[in-house]
Symmetry: C2
Subunit: 578 residues, 2 copies
């Protein structure tokens, strides 16, 4: 995988050019390669060996109510933190390395591949700190963000609740104002329950910084309706004084219980109660009612993080399956009797399954690194607006496509190993279980579809920006006789997605358009990946040809099938369930 990452970063995405920008002054591509070297090594040596233990030894609550994890977790996370990756893209004044987002994401990919559940703690912590740096007061940054970036404290995001699922506007956690002049920020007392809180409780860090969405009651005591009434609060597990020193006193954040998950088990997942027993002090971040805006400020990066973790699980499964298929001798091609058994890779269907995994894992990796590169353009490039438009359109695909097809890739890895893949003697069954979370967390698959069709594809300038980018790829490909047929196929798919967009929005009613959101997401997603694979052919690398050929022959034709009901205006809500 390392060679591919280097190719993608330095040849395809021209990351080296970023060293000319002020933000990355003094850095060079060589520095970044060294960072990748270090992360690749630490991931393989420190995280990969404990990945199975994180699965088998699920988090447990001990007699003192503490969440216990496998012994190696803390040491592995220490090794991660020692790489400097937690603050890698932050300013130097926060201990950061001012790395490009693309390099930071690539470096994190090694860790996700080694143990996706371990990395849950660090990705949440980095995201939490970024949010406080972006929206917190100077003191909130100093008191809360700094220890997070140093890896001494860990962070969480507390959005959902037992009764609301994805419908955040209906949350019922209350925040009663208590003191406007607390040096840590306007202080409130929070009361309510938060569900599905990853890393919500553990003993890995000196403190846990919960970022909690809650509503401030109206004068009549009722909660404001809808998502406009949501505010954001810092709620530490252990109380701190104005200088950030731990007081030794627990804040009113109680662990109700752990969720026992199908996979991704190493990251504890909790139901937390706020304000039961002791008061739960929360310090508001940003203005009242601006909670969702603040919380979703870093959403693009968070969703790239999920997309990359999905790509890495697919990659991990692919590497195991490829190694197994090359070693394992079994059977002969049809029609051949007698003679030595051949490797599994010499069976056409096994090769199809391997190429599918390669096309999915590597394509998903390329897409997400492309998106990370757009984040860098947005931050320090010449045309941040254009980058932002393309990124906005691609993000739901970057998150959902690897989650859906990475799951298929992991299932194919099991299939290549056969019965062996169905046992715990091999890691592929764990990858498959871990992967299943990616279509659920950080915005479900259905929500990605709604985001794409209702919010993004409804903006003509976003689609135009994307089409222009695809057309640039097409122009180059049409000039190459080996790629011209693919270019025609891609052009037809692009046109079809354009027609489907119009068909879905024909009534101009979002409730009607919403019926088509997921099939549209799938069709759009395969279009994007076909474009990525064709664009990669510009590099002229022999090893990138086969997955592209596979994708255009076996995958791209699916676009037409998925968009058929969109173009036909199907309405399943009229059909009875039985």
């Amino acid at each position: 995988m390392r060679a591919l990452i280097d190719t993608l970063l330095f040849d395809w995405l021209q990351v080296g050019q970023l060293s000319e920008r002020e933000r990355h002054a003094g850095q060079s591509a060589d520095d970044w390669r060294l960072m990748l070297d270090a992360c690749e090594r630490v991931a393989a040596e420190q995280l990969a060996p404990i990945n199975r233990a994180c699965d088998v030894e699920e988090p447990q609550v001990d007699a003192q109510g503490r969440v216990q994890l496998p012994a190696g977790t803390a040491r592995a996370l220490k090794a991660y933190i020692d790489t400097g990756l937690l603050a890698a893209s932050q300013d130097a004044e926060w201990g950061g390395l001012q790395l490009p987002c693309t390099v930071e994401m690539a470096a994190n990919a090694f860790f996700s591949k080694a143990s996706v559940a371990c990395v849950g703690y660090t990705l949440l912590t980095a995201g939490n700190a970024s949010l406080i740096l972006a929206h917190g007061s100077p003191r909130q940054r100093e008191v809360f963000a700094r220890p997070l970036l140093e890896g001494r404290w860990f962070g969480t995001m507390c959005l959902s609740e037992p009764a609301i699922g994805s419908s955040l506007g209906d949350l019922t956690t209350r925040a009663e104002p208590e003191a406007a002049d607390d040096p840590l920020g306007p202080r409130y007392r929070l009361k309510g329950s938060k569900m599905w809180i990853s890393a919500g409780e553990h003993e890995l860090s000196e403190n846990i910084v919960h970022l909690v969405l809650a509503k401030v009651p109206l004068p009549d005591g009722s909660l404001p309706l809808g998502s406009g009434g949501i505010s954001l609060f810092i709620v530490p597990k252990w109380r701190v004084d104005a200088d950030g020193r731990l007081s030794g006193e627990r804040n009113g954040v109680g662990l109700v219980g752990l969720n026992h998950k199908l996979g991704w088990r190493g990251t504890s997942n909790c139901l937390l109660n706020f304000g039961e027993g002791a008061p739960a002090y929360g310090y508001r971040v940003g203005a009242e009612g601006q909670g969702l805006v603040c919380m979703f400020h870093m959403m693009n990066e968070a969703r790239i993080g999920v997309g990359l973790s999905a790509a890495m699980l697919a990659m991990a499964g692919y590497e195991v399956a490829l190694g197994y298929a090359r070693e394992r001798l079994q059977g002969r091609p049809p029609g051949q009797r007698g003679g030595a058994q051949v490797a599994l890779t010499d069976h056409a269907d096994v090769r199809r399954m391997l190429l599918a995994q390669q096309a999915i894992a590597q394509g998903a990796l390329a897409l997400n690194l492309f998106c990370a590169r757009l984040v860098d353009e947005q931050r320090s490039g010449a045309d941040p607006q254009q980058a932002a438009r393309l990124l906005a359109l691609l993000i739901p695909v970057a998150k959902s496509w690897p989650s859906q097809w990475g799951l298929e890739a992991n299932s194919l890895a099991i299939q290549v190993l056969g019965g062996a893949g169905y046992t715990r003697d091999w890691p592929v069954e764990q990858y498959w279980r871990d992967q299943r979370l990616n279509m659920i967390h950080e915005g479900t698959h259905g929500i990605q579809g709604l985001d794409l069709l209702l919010r993004k594809a409804s903006q003509p300038d976003l689609l135009q920006t994307f089409a222009a980018r695809v057309n640039a790829t097409l122009e180059a490909a049409l000039a190459d006789p080996q790629q011209a047929a693919w270019a025609h196929q891609l052009a037809a798919a692009l046109a079809m997605v354009g027609r489907a967009t119009q068909a879905a929005w024909a009534s101009a009613d979002p409730a009607v358009a919403a019926r088509h959101a997921t099939p549209y997401l799938q069709g759009f997603g395969h279009l994007v990946l076909a474009w990525i694979w064709l664009d990669l052919q510009r590099l002229g690398r022999a090893e990138l040809r086969a997955p592209c050929a596979y994708f255009f022959a076996y995958e791209l034709p699916l676009v037409q099938a998925w968009l058929a009901p969109v173009l036909a205006g199907e309405d399943l809500l009229g059909e009875a369930l039985a």
Copy 2:
């Protein structure tokens, strides 16, 4: 589900007519309904409650080397045996009820839905007994088949070995002739290892009857090459005398270890050694070299069993997801602000996911009951040859389609429940894990594709028989204005599969055709299911309309995409892996 089974059996498949046949003389549709009532009740009351325990409390080897299962397993299996289902379709002289295969399979479906892992023991035992009845000597039937059919002994099928996977011709277990005149049959000493043996060791029954494939050495001591040299042996766990009495002496069948599986955990799965320590006596069944013929004699029924279990796992997940989605209030349709939250079923995408599950689960059930009905036609109908042709063609689809799409249905059930579905608080994650085995055992998915394209679709009379059956459905549908559009869609799909068959076989080389086996299987499979759904519309049942509408709008268009590379003659074996 019960109402649907009654509709399928008595209205669609006209099972009632079978009571006019000599084999089922004295039986009536009312008797069969009572049998279904009893099985439905016992499955729900005795098996369903222990299904989670069978998963969580995996089989363990105790200090005495015995395999221990959860406490409730034996009682649940006793309740199953007391229904009489083990011998239900056998002759009365063997304690059988002479039930139609269709009724027996439908009755078993309730048990598969309740606990697929529990039913593993009984389905293997029934299949094992059937095989001995078909191919064994009179004494082998009396000594081995009778206690199996009474549920006192359980059975296994020992095919695979650690080094061979699906390539049975390469097996290395040896059977050295010892005594041609043993009353239990020609006696051999077996030596070798057998892998993936379901129910290979346990304490549930007084004895375990292993049916073992092995090779009799040639005069020079070497083993014959290929599958033609394979013979079949009865190898009991406990030795028996000529009258079937247990001698108290262990035969040389040793448990090397248990496989720790991703799902289907309640059925122990073993690596067994034969002939290490004590000799392993085996009694040959059928002639030397006829092992595979005997073993696969009951293959159709075994594969219908897998298809039905896959359909039932999909059904179990669907019922949980539908119940959850109807109860759970969450969010509002896009564009609607404020007001009460609506049920999940009022969200278009959730409804799509539920209809997909319904179309898969119910369609798979219908297909497999249709196949069981063909078994009855083959056994006692007016044109057994025609039934056999249609059955031969449909069997790989009946096994593989529910396995592949049932897995998707179970994944959608998780998705409908969201985070809750990803936890062990709900059964859907277990159904998904259990389901994953169905594409692997009893002939992998790839092998089903090879069976369909290389052995079945290569016979024009099989395809013609199928096309005639589809055309009968089309004729009826074309006469109904509400179904005419579906009929045209189905006719186009049928024609396309015909072209794909010709394209795959254009070179007349099985090795070339084999490249296309799995995509062909998928395209053919969706064609079959579209036909099933359209044929079901003949009944005029309102509740069967929505899944049909879903299938034709969202699923059938996929056929064209899957067959595109078949029609184009793609060859992935020429592509390099990287």
